[in-house]
Amino acid sequence: MIPELGHFALALAVALAFAQGVIGIFAPGLRDARAMRAAPALALSHFLAIGAAFLALIYAGVVSDFTVENVADFSSSMVPLIYRISGTWGNHDGSMVLWCFILSLCGATVASFGGNLPASLRARVVGVLGLVSGGFLLFTLTVSDPFTRLWPPPLDGAGVNPILQDPGLAFHPPVLYTGYVGFSVAFAFAIAALIEGRLDAAWGRWVRPWALLSWCFLTSGIALGSWWSYYTLGWGGYWFWDPVENAALLPWLSGTALLHCAIVVEKREALKAWTVLLAIATFSFSLSGTFLVRSGILNSVHEFAAAPDQGLFILVLLGITIGGSLVLFALRAPALAAAGIFAPISRESALVLNNIFLSSIAAVVFTGTLYPPFANLLFGIQLSVGAPFFNQTVLPLTAPLILAMAIGPLLPWKRAALRPALERIWLAFAVALVVLLVMTLKSNAITALGLAGGVWVILSALSDIAERARLFRGPASNSIGRLQALPRAAYGAAFGHIGFGVMVMGIAGMTLASQKVVVLQPGQTTQLGGYGWTLNDVHDAPGPNFSQRVADITVSDDGKPFLNLHPSRRFFTVQKVITNDAAIHTNGFQDLYAVFADEPAAGGAELRLNRHPLAPEIWFGGLIMAFGGLLSLSDRRLRVGAPARKAAKAQNATA
């Protein structure tokens, strides 16, 4: 009964979403005030309908209703409750419902909290979101229905993929999807602005919090996914340039560019068309990322299985959404004239530079990811593009980005001089240079460059804050007062940049990782990374839906034991799959990482031992970045809300 109600709610949601879309987009043109008010109300009911469908699906998973095909295929009564819940979005059909649920949540949020928007703009934004949602709901309902019944039901489900039975992965998709889908709001604002034919500072101020919030989610989602692959897959790597990873990186890159560019629209009313294009591009990348992966075109390790007819349906949807918005862009955007002009050396130019580098990186990643299928199509050759290509092309583009991102925030708007800005960060430059020289001698140039770049970005962000507060240049009380008076957006930007610097240092540190594979008999010791690793014994241990063999390892420094690690091999009885559960010990600045790879017939344990200097900083940096974004979101000027359009106009006139 409940699954039928869910199915019905899904069908209702399709109708409500299309109504929301059509009314929202056309009501403002007809100057029908009642219809314009109807769009937000429809957005709320559309959200409730999908919410009901989503809950029904989760309910079927929780009570292990194996008459629902989706539950029978991807869940099992032996799986712990949390994975029965997360299992609902661990497969193609269920993840579509989650995706649509988040999209409708975005629409409902704009509808509820968009009270300060002009009624016509709000109706149009909500309308665009409704149309997009309607398309994907129709797809879910017709060709990937998660509520399909199965009769007779199997005695037990096929179970959740053991690799996915992990807290990191239970929360990775919702966070990542919120990031992806959140950019739909910036997209809807861009489309609404193109329809209205006007885009001003107030628009920039409305869009930015949405872009920022989605960016925070996307950043955390990517960091979470990377962390998960690091600690569960047991490969000891954190980024593999897999198409799915690239698919998440692309919207992150263009979304980061969008964040920076929206500031220019907000403060200076310049770069309008480019900002609109970035908003369209970011959401288009999000869509293509989520869906091309499902079409099977890209060769990836973590794709969902989906039939090619689903692929065609998706392609048509993408074509309408992306193609339609780009047609609108081609017709309307040339009329968006820039109001502010700026000199070659200014904050605006620095942000343009940031955009150029980020877009170039995005272009390289895009080309590398799509080159194999297109090369096959155009030239009839089979090839693969892997990590060597990406490492060699992305690095040279990231280096100047790092160099510039430290200087940009120091430049004033409109017209600036480079020298005073550089004088403020001479200390950061000097320290980075020392790090570069010392580390080049001690390790290698690439590692040294990464570490120095990280130090450079972190220290210049800190010295910028210190300079603004006039720290060490007068009475301390004065400085503290200034620190308190600084807008939160300034701290947010500083944390965002510091987080990036920390992440770069983590990545650079990982190049110094040491690892080895050894077979140890109980009692034997091996040396790695300056520590002695002793295998004490191998024993059995019970688990909820798996049995496991655990290796007991003691790590000692100079003969003094300081750590016990317990990597295990888990045997999942339902799926007959073995996973290696890595044991990782971190002290915040390095990881000691042990994997129990195999039990050789001759006895003992085959272990993979790793020492990863600075590895935690990769994810820690991602979290700091997301924190910076949230800090910036809580800034007064966004919290209080954008002033009405007229007020903004008046301000510009007097400025």
Binding site: L277, L315, G323, A330, P388
Partner: protein
């Protein structure tokens, strides 16, 4: 508004249309089973390796593509790295193949001579000759996927087979041995 500006703003649309058409064709070809994105055949199969000259390690001579033109018997080229875990796993298999008389030439990928020497000391050296691709550029020309990777080269110097990943007993028995019999 001048035409150039209009064209510029329409460019994203045309780019999207072109890629959309591309994706459509690819999807159709996948349905007709003319294209399999999961197949990972090397572009080198049926061809000679692209031109390269790589230095050796620790004052030994390296080798170049001309050395691979006409081997006396079929041989393997194995890409490895001291930092690569699956390479360690396949080391015993490479050792066994070398012992059986199959020449294996090794190319160290993005590695330092010191680390390679330690690695070979620890896990055995199955290689007849050894070269070092420190920059990784030759690897890109080979259509390299990731270490370890093994190529079979026949007596005419033509690449007949590529295996991305560690060689184990199954792969050797099912894939390599029949090919060795055919080309020797």
């Amino acid at each position: 508004m001048d035409t150039r500006r209009k064209l510029l703003f329409a460019a994203p649309f045309f780019a999207a249309v072109a890629s959309g058409a591309g994706f459509y064709t690819i999807l159709r070809r996948m349905q007709d089973e003319k294209y399999d994105p999961h197949a990972l055949p090397s572009p080198l199969i049926g061809h000679k390796p692209p031109a390269f000259t790589l230095p050796g390690i620790n004052n030994q001579a390296g080798f170049s593509n001309t050395d691979l033109l006409a081997p006396a018997r079929p041989m393997l080229v194995n890409w490895f790295a001291s930092w690569c875990v699956p390479c360690v796993e396949e080391a015993p298999m490479l050792g066994a193949l070398a012992k059986s008389g199959l020449p294996i030439w090794g190319i160290a990928y993005q590695d330092t001579p010191g680390a390679v020497a330690t690695y070979l000391q620890e896990y055995g050296n199955p290689f007849t000759r050894l070269a070092n691709d420190a920059s990784g550029l030759t690897a890109i020309n080979w259509g390299f996927y990731g270490v370890p990777e093994t190529y079979l080269i026949d007596r005419q110097g033509i690449v007949r087979w590529r295996w991305a990943g560690a060689l184990d007993a199954d792969v050797v028995a099912q894939n390599l041995t029949p090919l060795l019999n055919r080309y020797s």
